[in-house]
Amino acid sequence: MPETRAITGNGAIAEAMRQIAPDVVAAFPITPSTQIIEDFAGFVADGKVDTELITVESEHSAMSACIGASAAGGRVMTATSANGLALMWEMLYVAAGMRQPILVAVVNRALSAPINIHCDHGDSMGARDAGWIQIYAENNQQAYDNMIMAPAIAGHADVRLPLMVCLDGFIISHSIETMQLEEDRQVQAFIGEHKAFHSLLDTANPSSWGALDLHDYYIEHKKAQQVAMANAKPVIEEVSERFGKEFGRRYELFESYRLDDAERVVVAINSVAGELKEVIDELRDEGEKVGLLKIRVFRPFPYAEIAAALKNSKIVTVLDRSTSMGAYGPLFVEICSSLYDANPRPMLYSRTFGLGGRELLLDDIRDLFEESKRYLNEGKIEKTSDFLNVRGG
């Protein structure tokens, strides 16, 4: 029987890992993702899951061991945050280039310096070009659901790419929320068998992994990777649909919340969507045509689908929870790209919020919608890009 439980986001991810029952997990603790591996180590110690847990000495080695185990034919997972993900950086590209469907729970946290343990998306956004599928979650339920869908997406024959399930540090990872945990048997049936290819343990057919690839082949391998990423889009839709049929919770590449007739739209990622929905409902009650487009899949980025979803919008506010120094926020850049060909093209501007865990309260969100109303009425955007809730303006 599915079980309704109040459980932390990290706890939910650990439960998903137990149900997926990977062959190998290699991990190193880092706040706020640590509890995932602690809980999972408990499952291993209690014999609830038959996984080889490698407690490595760094995240670089965690990802390296994951790649080794995956190339040896295993289903492989890990979890990390912020500086840990940064230490994996080199190996993220290797995992993707080697087409290993490794699964990572990224509990989003700000990167140093100054050091900070709280949520922003600087870690996973920095890894957006590493060749990993990135799926984001608004709450504990979505983080769990995304993780359950992850093996089927990453391991799909047309895809074969590593995948990050991203959830907000502390806000989601450490909050207990009411959610539904599905039955082990049903989850395992949904996930299906892991299919390895050219396993290193197939000593009768020796394969060589990680060869030196020069100008005569490198770009062909990169093209194949880009095509696999494009293939991931319909596969994510297909797996999400199957998930909806199986478990009753439906997901798309992004969530459209009261968007159809919305004139003023906010585009955002992860937990802040909850607060946005709350305020949007209030404003709708007051007759305001406001809506939300919440990104779920950031890589591959659904450009055309987003353009279609925003076709009736008049002004779009993009909320980035990370910043690209010397450039616009990563989400804003993608939304601009999506809307370049739109006719008419909505007014567009960018707001960066929440770096290092700075709160964005419901009143702040009301102010945000006030601002977009003013811009729309005046037909002019005052500041294309700005930080929210920062002292000194």
Binding site: T4, R5, A6, P32, I117, H118, N139, D168, F170, I171, I172, H174, S175, I176, E177, T178, S271, G274, E275, K277, E278, E359, L360, L361, L362
Partner: protein
């Protein structure tokens, strides 16, 4: 207050305040409500003031922001009184549940409260009696049930707590914690 019933806990690192908020949420969850619970995380360690929050609702809880206008304030350590933020955002009918040996009227005065109902419970002495040490959580939960029966009844709290504690505690401690909940409930004074 809107559709969310919100609780704010004030305690010190090491007193089990965060666990108290989480256990209460789990118990309320067991009655069929949607819940969320989360602490205010910082680098603080044992002894530093900490806050934790609960939200209860009949429908899905979407927001993650800290509780600014609490329906209930749980004060686990009275040495925090006079410090920052204990009465912040409290409305006229915000309930205060305080772990103290003082009587309720005195406590109300200490907190400079007027209209707000105050429930006191000697959770530390209950804890000493039962555990020979200071773990006031369970008694505080009992006091919560006394103060807010519309959120959770004593019977429901006891039934849910038994299940929750069975996962994390040895059998004898489960019994003692249930006893602590009941004592907390029984020994409440009001003003």
């Amino acid at each position: 207050m809107s559709k969310y019933f919100e609780v704010r806990w004030h305690g010190r690192g090491g007193q089990g305040t965060v666990t108290g908020a989480k256990s209460l949420a789990e118990a309320v969850q067991g009655t069929g409500k949607c819940v969320s619970a989360f602490p205010d995380y910082g680098p603080e360690r044992r002894g530093a003031p900490v806050r934790a929050f609960d939200r209860f609702s009949d429908s899905r809880i979407r927001i993650h922001t800290p509780v600014l206008s609490p329906d209930v304030v749980m004060i686990v350590d009275t040495t925090l009184i006079g410090g920052k933020g204990l009465v912040e955002g409290a409305g006229e009918s915000t309930i205060f549940v305080v772990n103290t040996e003082r009587n309720a009227a005195e406590t109300k005065e200490l907190l400079s409260l007027t209209t707000q109902p105050v429930y006191t419970v000697p959770a530390n002495s209950i804890s000493y009696r039962l555990f020979k040490r200071e773990i006031p959580n369970s008694a505080m939960m009992g006091a919560f049930a006394r103060a807010c029966p519309e959120v959770i009844s004593l019977e429901a709290l006891v039934a849910e707590a038994e299940k929750i504690f069975a996962h994390i505690l040895a059998a004898d401690l489960v019994g003692k914690n249930i006893e602590a909940i009941k004592c907390g409930y029984d020994e409440v004074q009001t003003a």
